[in-house]
């Protein structure tokens, strides 16, 4: 491992009153001293060094791009120091490459590769009913078809400024925000980390004309606007809400205070985002997802894939250039949802006589939270890897604002004394936060069908009542 033959001497620097900045200042100082020595800029030959530090004060060492509220920090006695932007030749993390180094010498010119419209351009992972997420392949044709669809239902131009607050790794922000923005030569206001104030300020400072967001964000903006009364930006000419239904009262009050229009969109990762839009105005019908957008065919089918009559509930099926060719490396999953050129969404709904579509339920066991799909099975698979868990079932229940939340039913092994906080902690180690159950209920058994399949529907219905009681108790306290 190391040459023990010659006894070398290292220096110990022991600092028992360190500040957060010392995490950075010590190695920088030591490196600088050593390099000065190497180039004979100094007479002092500096030794290999061991630094041990404990801290005198609470503190934060923040990257140059991280946002920290300095006033709040000083109120709470927390020292903040920033890592300066690294210059040329700064230290490099072993085994990684630095983007700024890579592009430093790279040419500003590039001739784009030739691609066919049906070549894959993007793979977006989304949770389905199976445990692991599936990679939805979106082709160049899919992406361009989506921009054409938007062009027809919600024209954008180079005079627009669109706010990119939705994450660009999600189909909604990527397809309708970034790709449509570039396609129209619009300006784009980027928000790396959402907060209601940041969103409001960005709309104001960049005089944004278009906003695409999720219902929670509209609710936050509205609360902020109510408390502000003045200084509400009026530049937005159109807003689109998607990911979950937006309450009618929120929608109306928002349109009034911001003097704008809100359209509600419906779409999936598999359809490169929007396939229908319920625009305020003439055809607006609360609760509807609107008429089908041009270039997209949408129909309601029964279990035999036969189209049903208007007003009858069935599964929503979609066809058109925006529909994915399938899942990456997964022909079985693709075959399950692609039937005769139609994509089966797993959403249940109906069409009325005016040709407007409505969503009533979901066919698949899927939980949708803030526009993100969550697979109950994935969470169950994590839960049962805990040695104290016999079996688990995960379902969606509604919170008091009627949003879907994740609830887990757990049967413990004999002798196990697991608590729900133990299990939640265990989940946090394995899963992204939005997938972590909000409620865990311990049961002696799970309701099962004759074939041994867990009856989720039964768990969902019994849950509704239980939750109501829990929420009531909370409010009384």
């Amino acid at each position: 491992m190391k040459q023990k033959e010659q006894q070398r001497s290292w220096r110990l620097l022991h600092n028992d009153t360190a500040r957060s900045v010392d995490l950075l200042a010590y190695p920088s100082a030591l490196v600088e001293g050593r390099i000065a020595g190497k180039y004979m800029l100094s007479k002092e030959k500096l030794p290999d060094t061991l630094v041990i530090q404990t801290f005198a004060k609470r503190g934060i060492l923040a990257g140059s791009d991280a946002e920290v509220d300095k006033a709040a920090a000083s109120d709470h006695g927390i020292e903040v120091s920033k890592i300066p932007r690294s210059g040329r030749g700064g230290p490099k993390a072993v085994g990684t490459l630095d983007y700024s180094d890579l592009i430093k010498e790279a040419s500003k010119k590039f001739t784009p590769a030739e691609r066919e419209p049906d070549d894959p351009a993007i793979i977006l992972y989304t949770s389905g009913t199976t445990g692991n997420p599936k990679g939805v392949v979106l082709t160049h044709r899919n992406c361009m078809a989506q921009t054409e669809l938007v062009e027809l239902v919600m024209p954008m131009s180079h005079k627009d400024t669109i706010v990119l607050v939705l994450p660009l790794f999600h189909v909604y922000g990527l397809s309708n925000g970034l790709i449509c923005g570039v396609r129209n030569g619009s300006a784009m206001s980027l928000i790396p980390q959402y907060s209601p104030v940041k969103l409001m300020d960005t709309i104001t400072s960049t005089k944004a004309t278009l906003l695409i967001a999720v219902p929670t964000m509209y609710m936050h903006l509205l609360q902020l606007a109510r408390s502000r009364k003045t200084s509400i930006p009026k530049s937005l000419r159109l807003c689109v809400s998607g990911g979950a239904p937006l309450a009618l009262t929120t929608l109306q009050e928002f349109m009034e205070l911001f003097q704008t229009q809100i359209a509600e969109g419906y779409g999936l990762t598999e359809t490169t985002s929007a396939v229908s839009l319920n625009k305020t105005g003439e055809h607006f019908l609360p609760g509807s997802i609107g008429p089908t957008s041009p270039g997209v065919d949408m129909k309601i089918v029964d279990d035999n894939l036969q189209e049903v009559s208007d007003g009858t509930e069935g599964e929503i099926a979609i066809r058109g250039d925006v529909v994915t060719p399938g899942y990456w490396n997964n022909p079985e999953a693709t075959a399950e949802v692609m039937k005769d050129g139609w994509f089966l969404t797993g959403d249940l709904g109906y069409r009325n006589e005016q040709g407007l579509f409505f969503i009533t339920d979901r066919k698949k066991d899927l939980i949708v939270r803030g526009g993100f799909n969550i697979s109950p099975r994935e969470i169950e698979e994590v839960l049962v890897t805990h040695p104290g868990v016999e079996e688990a079932a995960v379902v969606a229940v509604s919170d008091k604002r009627d949003r879907e939340i994740v609830k887990a039913f757990v049967v413990l092994r004999d002798g196990s004394s697991l608590t729900s906080s133990d299990l939640l902690q265990f989940c946090r180690e394995e899963l992204a936060e939005y997938k972590i159950p909000k409620v865990i209920e311990f049961r002696e058994t799970l309701p099962k069908s004759a074939t041994g399949k867990v009856l989720r529907k039964e768990l969902r219905t019994t849950t509704q009542q239980v939750d109501q009681r829990l929420i009531l108790q909370k409010e009384e306290n």
């Binding site: 070398r8 290292w10 028992d16 790279a106 999600h170 980027l190 959402y194 899963l431």
Partner: protein, 296 residues
């Protein structure tokens, strides 16, 4: 109109080159600049051997680099695989393996996370880091920092620094009664799934620097979130689940004891003598410089 994303940005730039494309933290980037940055990104990725059809994963928030890289990937004819920056190791491993990504572009903050799973993702050749959004929170009760600034030759190869310092910390923990600690590839030391120490190794010229944090007692993060606004969903990303010596043994070790035991272990592991000393003139210069740059 362009039929592919590969040519879209060039086409739009021709029509609107002087027009504003991006507003980001008070700065304005025009379409011409955006297109040039995307070209640079395409050339940089081509330089790494990325070519038509290759999958390039992206784990980034909404920062300009997301857009440069996304269009850089499209110009190359490669396939962009952007995914949720809240994902944890297990989820990331699955996605990278499923799509067979050859490269990932991510925030510097996530270097540790990706390094830890790297051995489980054989297709992944390049980890490209951008954006400095790291947040390190220290408290007198919880944090102990260990650094090494040593000649490169101390280790057979730089990657060994992770393993050797990891082994040293595992031994240190055992001597304080934490016996279940294990070193996780390039990332740090864990107990179960929770982190008890982080290790960061960097190299510059002929030197290796190791910067490790060890948690002696629970880290009270309530205060941190009064200062850093994050959506509830992202809170856990700022701080991975962690544990500490006190949480595992019921006793917070005495600082002095940890220091002396660490020194003994360093002597033993590296076969060196360790003598107390102070910073010298050139070092103090560098130290003051960092303090002023860091806004103190």
């Amino acid at each position: 109109m362009s039929e592919t994303l590969s040519t879209l940005l060039d086409q739009i730039t021709k029509a609107y080159k002087r027009k504003d494309a991006l507003y980001f933290e008070g700065k304005t980037i025009t379409y011409r600049e955006l297109n040039e940055q995307a070209n640079k990104s395409a050339n940089a990725l081509a330089g790494l051997g990325i070519t038509k059809g290759d999958r390039v994963a992206m784990m980034l928030p909404n920062i300009p680099e997301f857009i440069y890289c996304f269009f850089g990937i499209q110009k190359l004819g490669a396939v962009a695989v952007p995914f949720n920056s809240m994902y944890k190791g297990r989820e990331i491993t699955y996605i990278l393996n499923d799509c067979g990504a050859r490269a990932i572009i991510t925030l510097s903050n996530f270097a540790n996370l990706i390094n830890e799973i790297r051995e489980d993702v054989p297709s992944l050749e390049h980890v490209v880091l951008t954006g400095q959004r790291t947040l390190i929170f220290v408290t007198p009760e919880s944090s102990l920092n260990v650094q090494l600034v040593v000649e490169k030759q101390t280790f057979t190869k730089p990657e060994d620094a992770f393993r050797e310092v990891g082994a040293l910390l595992v031994e240190l923990l055992a001597s304080f009664g934490v016996h279940e600690a294990w070193y996780k590839h390039r990332g740090g030391v864990r107990v179960g799934g929770r982190k008890i120490a982080t290790i960061l190794v960097s190299e510059i010229e002929n030197l290796i620097t190791v910067n490790a944090m060890l948690f002696l007692a629970p880290l009270d993060t309530k205060e941190l979130f009064k200062v850093v606004w994050v959506t509830p969903e992202v809170k856990d990303k700022v701080l991975e689940p962690s544990t500490s010596i006190e949480e595992l043994t019921g006793k917070r070790p005495d600082n002095g004891e940890v220091v002396s035991r660490l020194v003994e272990l360093v002597k033993e592991h590296f076969g060196v003598d360790v003598v107390s000393g102070q910073m010298k003139r050139d070092e103090l210069f560098g130290y003051e410089k960092v303090l002023s740059l860091a806004g103190r």
